[in-house]
Symmetry: C2
Subunit: 405 residues, 2 copies
């Protein structure tokens, strides 16, 4: 028997309680012992709810109970989640969390405290919801030197882009609908400005490359500027637009970025639609692998948290392997040298100038979309970001630009 406390009885917390209860027999069998929820911490009361008998309002009850060996932090937000996690680890309790914000912001420090106190800090649910990508990296793809990890790591933006593609709807209209259906937050900026996938790829890169990647160092561009017209050109090319989060080992060091990209039909993430998430991994022996699943939702996320709880029970008293193991921060390499093609939309009357600026040695391929009469799109030659920026500045009149992947 091992006892656990759940911090927060919200969407994920109630999911965790539900999974532990519904799949109790399987969970205990796989943990090798019975897992009992002793406490659930929440400021609210839940009269009549099965959780009522475990409910406490004061974290001190939990931290002072030496019987509690596993703390499930599913409160979200930085405070008091950080303090509760830190104190739990210091008290020799394992912590399992879905809190990507906390892991991305304070993971380095919390991993160190976990190590010093011989306990585990698990965070499978922080990236890719129910997709077991963190355990895959730490425990499954162990024979490989992973050089690239690319994810569709945000369900909200993938849902918005998919809807825009399938129905031709505008960004703002789809966003409003997504908010109504609960697929987008009331304040959606962490999603649509891509802070959320930046945090997640920082966490995954920290595991893959060993040292902490700070999400604030990652070039991050969201999907706020993607229009129904951009999507029309993508479709005309047979491509889709995806918000990709990538970290890649290169001869210059590790590069990382989050941005919308034009993705061709042969790309492993091309057909990941709606709220699904997926992670592409390239290993030097394995080659290509893709992990796909529900990126969010109460039960898929809780499924990942409970897998952590089971692993914490299996590893009680000993440390599990985690690739994110160095105490220093990883200095990301600059993205400056990366050469890519770009799709640019311009006004029809600027066609000549565009050719002169972007392709002095020859004519660019033109893409037209029937309904959009006053404009035209070009695919540029391969250019670095700086080359592109300086040409775009010289040209001056680009309607929009999207990178090819």
């Amino acid at each position: 028997m091992i006892k656990a406390a759940i911090l927060g009885y919200g969407t994920v917390g109630s999911g965790v309680y539900n999974v532990l209860h519904s799949n109790r027999r399987l969970v205990n069998e796989r943990a090798g012992r019975e897992i009992e929820v002793k406490y659930v911490l929440d400021l609210r009361d839940f009269p009549g709810d099965p959780v009522e008998k475990h409910l406490v309002h004061d974290f001190e009850e939990i931290i002072n109970d030496p019987e509690v060996k596993i703390v499930v932090e599913v409160m979200g937000g930085l405070h008091p989640a950080f303090e509760f996690t830190k104190r739990s680890l210091e008290e020799g309790k394992n912590v399992c969390t879905s809190n990507k914000e906390l892991v991305a912001e304070h993971g380095l420090e919390l991993m160190k405290i976990a190590r010093e106190n011989d306990v585990n800090y698990f965070f499978e649910a922080s990236c890719g919801g129910g997709i077991p990508i963190i355990r895959a990296l730490n425990d499954c793809l162990t024979a490989d030197d992973i050089d690239t990890i690319t994810g569709i790591l945000n369900g909200t933006t993938n849902f918005i882009l998919t809807e825009m593609t399938e129905n031709g709807t505008s960004f703002s209209k789809v966003l409003k609908e997504a908010q109504k259906n609960g697929f987008a937050e009331r304040d959606p900026s962490a999603d649509i400005d891509a802070l959320d996938p930046a945090r997640k790829i920082a966490i995954l890169a920290s595991i893959v490359f060993g040292s902490s990647v700070d999400y604030k160092d990652i070039y991050t561009e969201g999907i706020r500027k993607i229009t129904a017209e951009d999507i029309k050109y993508a479709s005309a090319l047979g491509y889709s637009i995806k918000l990709l989060a990538e970290a890649k080992k290169t001869e210059y060091g590790v590069r990382a970025y989050v941005a919308p990209f034009l993705v061709d039909p042969m790309h492993p993430l091309y057909s990941i639609n709606g709220v699904m998430n997926a992670v592409y991994v390239h290993g030097n022996m394995l080659g290509d692998a893709v992990f796909t699943g529900a990126g969010a939702g109460s039960l898929p996320t809780a499924s990942a948290v409970v897998a952590d709880v089971i692993d914490a029970a299996r590893h009680d008293g000993k440390r599990a392997y985690c690739g994110w193991k160095h105490d220093e921060k990883l200095a990301l390499a600059s993205n400056e040298g990366i050469k890519r093609k770009y799709l640019i939309r311009i006004h029809t009357e600027d066609e000549g100038k565009a050719n002169k600026v972007f392709s002095p040695d020859g004519f660019l391929d033109t893409i037209t979309v029937g309904e959009l009469e006053d404009e035209v799109a070009f695919i540029t030659p391969e250019l670095s970001e700086e080359e592109f920026d300086s040409k775009a500045k010289a040209f001056g009149k680009i309607i929009s630009r999207i990178r090819f992947c």
Copy 2:
């Protein structure tokens, strides 16, 4: 330091040696100790090869060396692989294998011997090549009650079907080409008659459902009869034909089958092409998840074997969890009640009779393919296998039939 012996220096064995050597630093770091290959067993000599200094021709040298804690069985075939594995486990050595034939045939017995001797029998590479599906089931998706597992588990047949679809080539022509390129064996029957994926789904089902599934109990139909014309109809419908291996928990018990199916574009395995493998899993909490990767090849397979070696080093002296844990055989439920639609091709002159037999209450939807003038295809209403068989017998003149998934 932990010492290993590799049995067999063929395609997979040399891959294992290569991975252990090339990724040595990472492998040792993740194993938590140095892994040293002490012996490589092969009947042949390899003068000048780096493996030469480890080469032995007699298994007795390995079994009698108490320093060897990990035996890597990558010989293939049932004998002497079975005897070598059994004796290794009995001697308290962990065994890691890629030998799907052996695991499918004698897994139950070998798992029992491993349990009794407190060692591990790992076989990640036996299913899905480099895809870490077995570890995903045992160690990652632990919070879920998995009710369905469906795979494209054979690269050769998936390559053949993809080539037939993309180039309109006949089965026999693609097979010949695949044999020339090394994508198909000289005797391809285990692949094209689907014995290979039947073995693999039996192994995966044994892990998911706890008790041994005998592959010989699984209804198995290969792709030998699929013609370029069948594929034309599939393409006309916007579908693809995939050799699916499925095990599914139903109210009647666990059902399993391997057969070519018509797969619609929304199906999670629709876009798995060429030699890629993929496994779809449905969990009661997780929902849908898909794992995709290289299903064969020296290095991807070796990557999975070495992940087993690392896990064996991590678990030296203790048993790792494995879902396949009961000593009895699982009695599969009959597939008799399953209702499905079928695509049937018939001669044009039999259209009236086909309607009468297959759809007495109304007309069937007709599908025609321009170039095939003397025939027509129908989609039947949902029928059980027995209903279909009895109607097909009454009708008598079906050119071909393929199940819808």
